[in-house]
């Protein structure tokens, strides 16, 4: 069974200003199925449609055309969100709360029964290494600590599907290694993981399959046996498949 299914999905952003409407293509006819238990990496440049695809999965956007399914249900479906964990590219957390209060909030929102909630919160704080700072306000957290708090909220309800938007962007090498370990741990537990990234080497190490997005279209789909044991396969595929859509030319320093 597929954990995620994009069926000819298009997303067009319309913006009106002074009576003039401009349209931007976020996704263009995306067709992609991700089976349960797979670790899938979405690669692409800025503006290629990675975050749009994730927002469609999470119900933050509605498709202009086509259908999106998560865990067998058509998105957006509030009920199915209880089985999905999501961490955005930055820790968009309410900084007035403490680490513990923040996790308690998301545990309650994820419908963890009250009797089990405190135990689960403590366990998760311990797992992400924030137990010592649990009663500090998030405004006092470092960037790395915030990223951990964000991961903790995504995992506190033990989701079947985990979606991570650029989880290693801006992290130090040690933290990147920890995220890699986390993804592999989720895989070992049979969870489905979808994550987006610019970092080809990271994708190479943990993914079963990857998809390369460019200009809102899926331009390349590769599975592990295509790159395992070979060097620069993904990088070469990436360089040939993607086109810059942001209007910026290449850097020439010859």
């Amino acid at each position: 069974m597929n954990a995620i299914s994009f069926q000819k999905v298009s997303k067009i952003y319309r913006r009106s200003h002074l009576g003039k409407t401009t349209e931007t293509v976020g996704l263009d006819g995306l067709e992609l199925d991700i089976p349960e238990g797979e670790v899938f990496g979405l690669l692409g440049l800025n503006g290629s449609g990675k975050t749009t695809a994730i927002k469609l999965l999470m119900g933050l956007h509605l498709p202009t055309k086509g259908e999106v399914e998560t865990l067998g249900r058509r998105a957006p479906d509030v009920e199915v969100l209880a089985r999905i964990g999501y961490a955005p590219e930055a820790a968009y957390l309410n900084k007035t709360l403490t680490g513990r209060e923040n996790l308690r909030l998301f545990a309650a929102l994820s419908r963890i029964p009250r009797g089990n909630l405190e135990k689960r919160v403590e366990e998760m704080l311990d797992r992400v290494g924030l137990a010592h700072a649990a009663d500090k306000r998030l405004s006092e957290y470092s960037k790395g600590m915030l990223q951990r708090a964000s991961l903790a909220q995504a995992l506190v309800h033990d989701p079947e599907l985990v979606i991570l938007d650029e989880p290693v962007t801006g992290l130090d090498p040690l933290a990147i290694k920890e995220v890699r370990t986390l993804i592999l741990w989720l895989k070992s537990k049979g969870r489905t993981v979808l994550f987006s990234s610019h970092d080809i080497s990271e994708v190479e190490r943990v993914c079963d399959r990857i998809g390369i997005l460019s200009g809102g279209r899926l331009v390349k789909l590769m599975s592990q046996n295509e790159w395992r044991g070979k060097s620069d396969v993904i990088e070469t595929a990436f360089a040939t498949a993607v086109k810059r859509t942001d209007g910026v030319g290449p850097i020439r320093m010859e």
Partner: protein, 254 residues
């Protein structure tokens, strides 16, 4: 219910920990001190002046706070993107909006209760002690705050601009006190069309003039049955505004 309660709790904590809330409570104390000083000039009418000016100060602070807080309530969460994490959990948008609104109203009510307790002590020292009527006046102010807050929330979602929403909220606040005047105008009007339009407008705008219990209790104060209908009015009007807000919010993409 668990979801509403979780959103309510974090909203309440967020407000109470905010510097703006503390400053408004402090400003409220300054206004009460002002009422104490000014009432000394009122000769025989000192208790009346202390009562009126104190309650007016409490109401002014509560209304300004609730308008400021509710106008920013959702827009700021959208801007900080904290809303991403909330809505990617199994949270119905109506539950989120209701929890946010009730949490804000509770924070405003707490500020009001603290100021009222101090005010009542001061009044007691000057020989005025009618806690029943005082509570009725406070409940009317809270009803007004509820209606005003829900209206400001609706305006913030409809206009998506904090400044415009605040300006329109103040306009409706003023208009709400002209409900009797508008009906008076309608009675005087010769044209059936204008009469109908004014009556319709006077009913559509919140009827704040009838909530000024603290303004008209020096004559004959209305009884318990009136208070009950006033409560029904406030809950139903605020509920209608919230339902309209939900309608707008459910169509929003982030």
């Amino acid at each position: 219910m668990q979801t509403i309660s979780a959103v309510f709790t974090y909203t309440f904590k967020e407000h109470v920990r905010h510097k703006a809330w503390l400053s408004s409570a402090l400003f409220g104390f300054i206004l009460l001190g002002g009422a104490l000083v000014i009432s000394a000039l009122g000769a025989d009418e000192r208790p009346r002046l202390m009562l009126d000016l104190g309650l007016a100060g409490i109401e002014a602070i509560t209304l300004v706070s609730i308008v400021f807080l509710t106008v920013n309530l959702i827009l700021q969460e959208i801007e900080s993107r904290a809303i991403y994490l909330i809505l990617t959990h199994p949270v119905r948008r109506s539950d989120y909006l209701l929890g946010r609104f009730l949490g804000t109203l509770a924070a405003a009510a707490l500020g009001m209760a603290i100021m009222a307790a101090l005010h009542l002590v001061l009044l007691g020292l000057y020989g005025w002690w009618e806690p029943g009527r005082y509570l009725a006046a406070l409940l009317c102010t809270l009803g007004k705050a509820g209606v005003m807050g829900s209206l400001a929330l609706l305006l913030s979602l409809a206009l998506t601009s904090e400044a415009a929403a605040m300006a329109f909220s103040v306009f409706f606040w003023m208009l709400g006190h002209f409900s009797s005047e508008m009906r008076f105008l309608a009675d005087r009007s010769g044209s059936a069309f204008i009469k109908t339009a004014i009556v319709a407008f006077s009913h559509a705008a919140p009827d704040f003039a009838h909530f000024n219990y603290r303004d008209f209790w020096h004559a004959t104060a209305p009884g318990a049955q009136w208070l009950m209908w006033a409560g029904v009015y406030a809950v139903a009007y605020a509920g209608a505004c919230l339902a309209l807000s939900v309608q707008l919010f459910e169509q929003k993409e982030f």
